[in-house]
Amino acid sequence: MREYIQKIKRLKHEFGLVGILSALFGGFVFSTLLFLPILLILGSITTLYMHILGIMSSMIWLTFFLYVFVFFRLVKQAFLLKNPQSTVDYPYLFKVHVIITEIIVFILGVIYFVVLMPRIF
């Protein structure tokens, strides 16, 4: 935890809050541009294949995992493009953020499959 905080502080020191927010926003915009049509296509197909809702939902779930991965990948790239000589430990921060967010996506997916899906559909 201490190591993580130190590396985040290092990141903030190098890029400032505005720089970090700019990278996050860029990552969000470009990853969303990429995944929005994919999710819409899967959603449209799902409406016509509700009898295999479990399979279709799993594909959407997997797409969200990929979306998170690409988002952080783009954020990392934004930092590297801002300052190629940066000394921040990007692989470490990328790994931690991806793992934490993927765990959240996993939990949300489990809640959907176990609680919401049987109640709603």
């Binding site: 449209s44 016509l48 783009l74 109640r119």
Partner: protein, 352 residues
């Protein structure tokens, strides 16, 4: 943000037109409706009966829903064309004039009235063996349809109660007397009650050409919860339409009687229910059979009212089974009344 934009702009600018075209395909609605296989909804999740001892059935009753999209997108049209399970038709009839929201409102209205019809039928049947079962009725007249040309179209809510109308000879509270108490070309004040219980007034002109106001009323019965034992709770659900009536009635009946009517089976089916217990036709037979088949149900009840009618639900279901290589033996159960369905289940062996 800027760094990523500079980095990816060369690729993005070439993809912009195809990207926007794809979004157009995904969002632009066309006047076609599509019916696709849906899923099963356990009636347990729709109506909860508060019996003294909460009864647990070894099997389950499920209604079968299909996906019906009134104005599909181009993309759904393309995908639907390739699926053998979907039916695509040009939007016609009253649905052409309704917005998607209004179509959904009517479907929910149908659902609500079908749940109450199911409760009435089930409670009536259960009273025979269990006199403690009681229920009271409220008669209501609901707005079930509006035509495009009617005056003050947006002010009248679908599924709202008709209360009264100021007619030529005074206040009319019986909707059947509206026609006889009004004159073509004249405007009359109607009173309606919305779902919140608030009354509102709308001036509607009786069309001189059609001699109609443009409203469709439906007389329905709702169960009065204050006079009902055991009480029940309707659970909100996204599924609309009246086709779950038969299975809802069967589930509620199973909750009220002694023994286990399900015999441990996964029971599904379709069919509307009338207050006298007769079963009515439904649409989307192909999609419902496919849905039931994919969900591995043990029994599927389906309306069978006329062996000479080519579009009878049961005969249509047999054709679907043949088309998709599904064996209907012992699985597809034709019924014309609620009592026939109950008799069939009671005739089965197994745990009870």
């Amino acid at each position: 943000m800027n760094e990523l934009t500079n980095r990816y702009w060369p690729a993005v600018k070439y993809l912009l037109v195809p990207y926007l075209f794809l979004l157009f395909l995904l969002f632009y609605p066309i006047p076609y409706e599509i019916a696709a296989p849906g899923g099963l909804t356990e009636v347990d999740h729709l109506v909860e009966i508060q019996t003294v001892e909460q009864k647990v059935l070894s099997g389950s009753f499920s209604t079968t829903y299909v996906i019906s999209i009134p104005r599909m997108t181009f993309f759904q049209f393309i995908i639907g064309t390739f699926s053998p399970f979907t039916d695509i038709n040009k939007l016609q009839g009253p649905n052409l004039n309704y917005t998607n929201t209004e179509i959904i409102q009517i479907a929910y209205c149908d659902k609500a009235t079908s749940v109450h019809a199911a409760i009435i039928v089930a409670y009536q049947a259960a009273q025979i063996d269990n006199p403690s079962v009681q229920f009271g009725l409220d008669e209501r007249v609901l707005v079930f349809g509006k035509t495009a040309g009617m005056t003050n179209y947006d002010q009248v809510g679908l599924c709202d109660d008709f209360v009264s109308m100021q007619g030529d000879q005074g206040v009319v509270t019986n909707y059947l007397e509206v026609g006889a108490n009004t004159t073509s070309g004249q405007t009359y004040t109607f009173t309606f009650r919305n779902s919140s219980g608030n009354e509102y007034f709308v001036d509607i002109t009786k069309n001189a050409e059609t001699n109609r106001f443009g409203l469709t009323f439906n007389r329905v019965y709702f169960v009065n919860k204050n006079q009902t034992f055991p009480t029940f709770t309707e659970v909100p659900n996204l599924v609309g339409g009246p086709s779950g009536g038969l299975l809802q009635a069967m589930h509620i009946y199973a909750q009220l009687i002694e023994g286990d009517l399900t015999k441990g089976l996964k029971i599904a089916g379709t069919g509307t229910i009338s207050y006298n217990g007769s079963v009515g036709y439904i649409g989307g037979v192909k999609q419902k059979i496919i849905t039931a088949y994919y969900n591995n149900v043990d029994l599927f009840f389906i309306p069978f009212l006329d062996a000479n009618y080519i579009y009878d639900n049961y005969l249509e279901a047999l054709r679907v089974c043949e088309e998709f290589g599904i064996d209907p033996t012992g699985w597809l159960i034709p019924v014309a009344t609620f009592q026939q369905a109950i008799d069939y289940l009671e005739s089965l062996g197994g745990q009870s």
